[in-house]
Subunit: 354 residues, 2 copies
């Protein structure tokens, strides 16, 4: 069975030894260890089935040959790839997908610990679902992680109908009857945290600058500000503004609010808007953090760079990744287990602006 004699040459696993033309197979290891293929397979997948001494012998042969099970063969037999698919959108220049990039890093790290890898794919220009469809039908991935669950949520319901395993980062806003596992960050809790932080510092007129009303996430974040204000019996009339997510909009909105409602602090739905507020303050010779306080959302890369540093609500993306992988393991377990949705609470990164 030894197709290549040189393959048997002793070699330490992590040294940069030249990769043989054809890597060693299970059979090669079996021959070298003087056992059957199945025993080698068991040594890898069910070590406790072997007697300690044979296990050691097989393990030795594996190390000497630098053997690692062929993924394709294993995938074919077990009907699973240990790959998790995740679609990423085009690189938009806005700060929006910076959060997603941070999440990808966390997800890759966490899946590694669980023995999975992340397969990235891009949306086809025409049909947004073809990417999912191809990967599913060719059984290239075991499951998906989807990230943009707002806006009608076509992927979630599509995948659900296909009975494809997936976990969503983002709650099912529109479908309360959704049965898929999801993980999300409580945006309202985040803005409430920010607002309470400001109220604790003595502010009473805390303004809100958020997104258009059709944004579910935006309305959620706004509700946290509302709740915190009303929780202390404070009025919010005239203190809220809903605009586009741009620096210019944040600047205009804050200027307008300062003139009309004299707030002493701002809570914003994004760091982008908060940067707009900082600009207005600079325009008027006001010092952020001393004269007027500002809090942003997402703790983006800009936050520590503003002058003064921008206090911002930070999503616990590492924890999100951990929960997503937990849900994935449940989905792919035997039998599959679908737990309830998981809601995580963000934290507040306090800097000079508040």
């Amino acid at each position: 069975m030894s197709r290549d004699v040189t393959r048997a040459a002793a070699r330490l696993p992590s040294l940069p030894a030249r990769l043989p033309a054809t890597p060693p197979t299970l059979a090669d290891v079996a021959e070298r260890a003087g056992v059957s293929r199945q025993t080698v397979s068991n040594a890898i997948n069910n070590p406790d089935l072997l007697r300690p001494d044979t296990l050691a012998r097989v393990q030795g042969a594996i190390d000497e040959l630098g053997y690692s099970p062929n993924r394709a063969a294993r995938n074919l037999r077990t009907r699973s790839s240990h790959l998790v698919g995740m679609r990423i959108g085009p690189a938009q220049e806005g700060t929006a997908n910076a959060t997603m990039d941070r999440f990808v890093h966390s997800l890759v790290e966490t899946t590694r610990e669980a023995g999975y890898h992340v397969l990235l794919f891009a949306a086809e220009p025409d049909d947004p679902m073809t990417g999912y469809d191809d990967l599913l039908r060719s059984t290239a991935v075991d499951a998906f992680v989807i990230t943009d669950t707002y806006l009608g949520n076509p992927q979630a319901s599509w995948l659900e109908q296909r009975r494809a395993p997936f976990v969503a980062f983002g709650r099912p806003w529109d479908q309360p009857e959704a049965r898929h596992p999801w993980v999300d960050v409580d945006g309202a809790a985040g803005t409430a945290l920010a607002t309470d932080h400001l109220l604790d510092k003595g502010h009473t007129r805390v303004a809100w600058i958020g997104w258009r009303k059709d944004s579910r996430i935006g309305e959620d974040r706004r509700s946290g500000w509302l709740r915190a204000m009303h929780g202390r019996g404070l009025s919010t009339t005239g203190l809220a503004s809903r605009v586009e997510d741009t620096v210019a909009s944040g600047r205009d909105a804050s200027a307008h609010l300062l003139d009309e409602a004299q707030p002493s602090a701002f809570v914003c739905a994004s760091d982008t808007l908060a940067v707009g507020v900082l600009r207005t303050l600079a325009d008027r010779g006001l010092v952020a953090g001393r004269d007027v306080a500002v809090v942003g959302f997402d703790d983006s890369q800009v936050a520590p760079l503003t002058q003064p540093g921008l206090t911002s609500v930070r999503q616990p993306l590492e924890d999100v990744a951990v929960e997503v992988v937990k849900a994935l393991e449940g989905l792919l377990g035997h039998p599959p287990a679908v737990g309830p949705g998981v809601m995580l609470t963000p934290t507040l990164t306090v800097r000079g602006s508040s």
Copy 2:
């Protein structure tokens, strides 16, 4: 051969039809189209071997059944996965890996067009090469894309010794004899572009703020500034500074340079340093772009948000991805073809700061 009758139910490909318990196989398509397995295989891999009408019939059956070749089986037989592995580091909060994230997006998009997918993996905490090693030995990926080729470049030489196919984003600084394909962006050309832009505007005393001398990339960028200045017969003595890549360092260095050498413009090795310069200007009541010009590097997310917007050198990451994929296709072709390294020229995104 029909293991499941319902599988033959008509179904349009992109509709969210429920995925059958076991996806259709080549044999199922063959039966439905009334041809042999071999013919179906040819329809997919060698369409020109078939008569047009049978090709159409097979294609129809494929569409009706929603068939897609099983990746694992194909990978096993053809010994290739159509996956490209790329390691990503931990999510550092600095702006350094923002460029990498932008590159990942471009790479995913470009590989899609070439029929490949990107497999992300993380570095093991202990041994940085184990990730590569495992994927190689288990033949999980066809090739790698490596991105951090500075600092002794252990991955490149390790992979070369293993005869593993890979393409580097980043030139082989230390190994002129390296034989692997690479793509890089000419940092010196970028800073020269920036410097010339400033000189064209009438500046004669253009200062440089860069990184420590042990950074190859930093010295490369610095050389472009030097070349542009000397190209017009201008002196550079006292106009350069080498510091850490932080806002505070950029601020201190620019303050010092302004005091000692009275430059009217700054070219920086990074946007982070440039933000530091902007801060010094604000400290002294100077207006960036009017009193003193500033140019950064990498066109990061901060650049458009500063006040005024930061002029910055932009790496053509989309083009880099295209060239990387071209090189990959050469490497994986029959026979493998290794072209020369490719050097791309960055562009300058001009904003208010210059």
